[in-house]
């Protein structure tokens, strides 16, 4: 399975508020793409637009070059930000119903429900009503609802919110597996460390506009060089404060995270550190995703 989900010039206004302002980016298959942005940036509106759940003032969503319509959406999977299931309906019955709405036969929907409930460790709750499940298990059921019909595109709005580490691992594993099998996976999150672990690419938006998009590795390597330097006996990294072309990003337990100007040689920094005392750590470091995020939104 290969393809490309293209979002082109998406614009959505609510009165005087512009939620999406000509937003364009694309999501390739075969990788997990993180969709980031501060609160109110337009992430949820973008995801809803893919499913026609919000009326666009302008713009278009394409899948493999063709405009996305009802037939295409039936082959997509969606996990909305505010979870939505019938509270009084039994888990398996509800999942089979949703699978059938996505075009599955009754037998296939039943088999896929059993497989996915077992895969996510909630098979014994198949006959429970949804509102009798814990938050984490409801989240798992909601994910199964998005996965059941073997979607070509998986759009997940905050799928990791409120999950314990085991839940995050389980759902994260499923997303990576889906991407490897050729699915196009886009998910939003505020937990940047988890996004960094899970995603190969990220797209960051703000005020309804694209800020940055690219592979996590490329973004981490881009920008100014970073060093972590630890000098024995100097817990405040006071040695670095007077060094030209060096900005202290953070000092944590004696380890100074430094951002170097392009003109500064790392050897000169090492010499300055050695002059201040015994150097116990001197490491080049990639940009963290949280730093990419903060710098992109400056």
């Amino acid at each position: 399975m290969s393809g490309l989900l293209e979002l082109e010039g998406l614009t959505r206004r609510y009165g005087t508020l512009t939620a999406l302002d000509g937003l364009s980016f694309s999501v390739p298959t075969g990788q997990v793409v993180g969709f980031l942005g501060p609160n109110g940036a337009g992430k949820t509106t973008t995801m809803r637009a893919v499913f026609g759940l919000t009326d666009l003032d302008a713009g278009m969503v394409r899948w493999n070059g063709a405009p996305v319509g009802q037939a295409e959406r039936r082959r997509f999977g969606y996990m909305p930000e505010e979870r939505g299931l019938y509270p009084a309906m039994r888990v398996a019955e509800q999942l089979e119903y949703l699978g059938r709405l996505h075009g599955m036969s009754a037998i296939d929907a039943q088999a896929a429900t059993t497989t996915w409930l077992e895969r996510l460790g909630i098979a014994e709750r198949a006959d429970s009503k949804v509102d009798a499940l814990s938050h984490g298990n409801q989240q798992r059921v909601q994910l199964v609802a998005a996965l059941l019909h073997g979607p070509e595109v998986l759009i997940l709005d905050e799928p990791l919110a409120g999950l314990d580490p085991a839940g995050i691992d389980a759902i994260g594993g499923v997303l990576a597996e889906q991407a490897r099998s050729g699915c196009c996976v886009l998910f939003s999150s505020h937990q940047l460390d988890q996004v960094e672990d899970l995603c190969e690419s990220v797209t960051i938006i703000d005020h309804g506009r694209l800020v940055v998009t690219g592979r996590v590795d490329d973004l981490a390597r881009s920008g100014p060089r970073r060093l972590v330097v630890r000098v024995e006996g100097d817990r405040d990294a006071s040695w670095a404060r007077g060094t030209a072309g060096v900005t202290i990003s953070e000092v944590d337990g004696g380890a100074a995270r430094l951002v170097l100007d392009p003109s500064v040689e790392s050897e000169s920094v090492l010499r300055a550190a050695m002059a201040a005392g015994r150097v116990t750590e001197f490491v080049f470091e990639r940009r963290r995703l949280s730093e990419v995020f903060r710098e992109a939104l400056k």
Partner: protein, 433 residues
């Protein structure tokens, strides 16, 4: 009666089970959308879910049993009263001659009852028996009639009619005796029959048709109120639980809404049909006169207008449900919608008992919001021709199409808006645009 009740309930259960099994078997074997387009298939899936959930619900089961019990009572109680009339107990103080005794028995027969004579020692004892209700009438020495309470001219109870007949007949017997007529002349007088009286205006509504009209009216009122409220709450719950986003990611709003109203409507129709079949079977088995005259036509018309009334109101209630997000908002939205239903119901109840409905009521029979109540009543009264019935039905269908278009526009605009009750003006502006 018990046999009829069990048969009707069993019939409904069997139909629902067989339908469910056949559906499971067929859907399990064929690929989705096998012979149907995706639109109808999705509508069918949504409708089937609605039916499954409603049939399972306690409200449906208990409600159906309650309605059946009420219908059974309405049919059976009158027949109990008609089949075994209470004998009139007559206390005799002193002797009563054979001709007078025969006149009393004849009086009882003329009002459809029998008589039971009780000998009483004296007048005081007779008064005591009257006060305690042990006798209905006391005849003192064949010349004086005594009752406990005065009988008004409008009293149509069996006892009142009996006392009136006894009073007149004993007077005639006395007059005949006083006139010293021959036996042949006395016999001739005794065989006298009142001449029939023909009126220019139609008489009051016959009992059976009136009862059927009332049962039909109550059925339409209960079912329209109940099932439309289900639609309103069902739509609101899908919105408030946010499952609507998951559903609309797969199907169009029009499919979801059509499936919902169709599914709940079929449940309503199955329930109403079961009640009508139950009523007919029970009426036949207990010998009720419910099936006589125009009553079956009234029942059929009730079912037709139940369908048309539901079709008209269901879209309105669905649109209202899409504006709400909480239970308290539902209450305030449902109240104004229920006003035309209550108005039509009250007007129809009033008109059902009258021989000649007003022109205003006849107009109501052509307005889609009130026609489901007014038209079956006019049918019961015999005040409507087939083409007038058809015209009203066509008006209702045309208006239903218009209302459905407007309602689906409102639904589509409002169902995905969260964060408080949506203002109708906002969605109407957008729906029109």
């Amino acid at each position: 009666m018990r046999g009829g009740l069990i048969a009707a309930v069993l019939a409904v259960v069997v139909i629902v089970r067989v339908w469910g099994r056949r559906r499971r078997r067929t859907t399990g074997q064929r690929q989705t959308h096998g012979g149907l387009g995706p639109f109808t298939s999705d509508v069918g899936l949504v409708a089937a879910r609605e039916m499954r959930e409603r049939f399972r619900g306690k409200i449906f089961r208990v409600g159906t049993l309650l309605i059946l019990a009420v219908v059974a009572a309405a049919i059976v109680i009158p027949t109990l009263d008609n089949g075994k009339p209470e004998p009139q107990r007559v206390g005799l103080v002193g002797a009563l001659s054979a001709p007078l005794r025969a006149a009393v028995v004849s009086s009882a027969k003329s009002v459809g009852t029998t008589v039971h004579f009780v000998s009483v020692a004296d007048e005081e004892a007779a008064h005591a028996d009257l006060r305690s209700g042990r006798v209905d009438l006391a005849i003192v020495e064949g010349r004086e009639l005594v009752v406990n309470k005065p009988i008004g001219s409008t009293d149509i109870s069996t006892t009142a009619q009996f006392v009136d007949a006894v009073s007149k007949n004993l007077g005639i017997v006395e007059a005949v005796e006083a006139a010293h007529l021959t036996a042949a002349q006395s016999s001739e007088l005794a065989g006298a029959r009142a001449l029939p009286v023909h009126s220019l205006q139609p008489g009051a509504v016959k009992g059976a048709t009136h009862t059927t009209s009332l049962i039909g009216l109550v059925l339409i009122f209960v079912m329209l109120s109940q099932y439309n409220t289900w639609i309103l709450i069902g739509v609101m719950e899908e919105k408030s639980s946010r499952v609507i986003e998951v559903l609309l990611a797969a199907v169009r709003p029009i499919q979801l809404l059509t499936g919902k109203v169709l599914g709940i409507g079929l449940v309503a129709f199955v329930q109403a049909s079961a009640i009508v079949v139950f009523a007919l079977v029970l009426a036949k088995s207990v010998g009720s006169d419910l099936l006589h005259g125009t009553a079956p036509v009234v029942l059929a018309s009730t079912l037709v207008w139940l369908v048309l009334g539901y079709a008209f109101y269901c879209w309105v209630y669905a649109a209202a449900g899409s504006l709400a997000e909480r239970q308290d908002q539902v209450q305030s939205l449902a109240f104004p919608l229920s006003l035309p239903i209550i108005f039509g119901y009250i007007m129809a109840l009033t008109a059902a008992g009258s021989a000649s409905p007003s022109s205003f009521f006849k107009v109501l029979a052509y307005l889609p919001p009130t026609a489901p109540f007014a038209m079956p009543v006019l049918v019961g009264l015999g005040k409507v021709t087939w083409w007038e019935f058809l015209a009203s039905a066509l008006i209702s269908i045309v208006c239903t199409v218009g209302v459905a278009r407007l309602a689906t526009g409102i639904y589509r605009r409002a169902i995905l808006r969260t964060g408080g009750r949506v203002k109708l003006r906002d969605v109407l502006t957008r729906a029109a645009g």
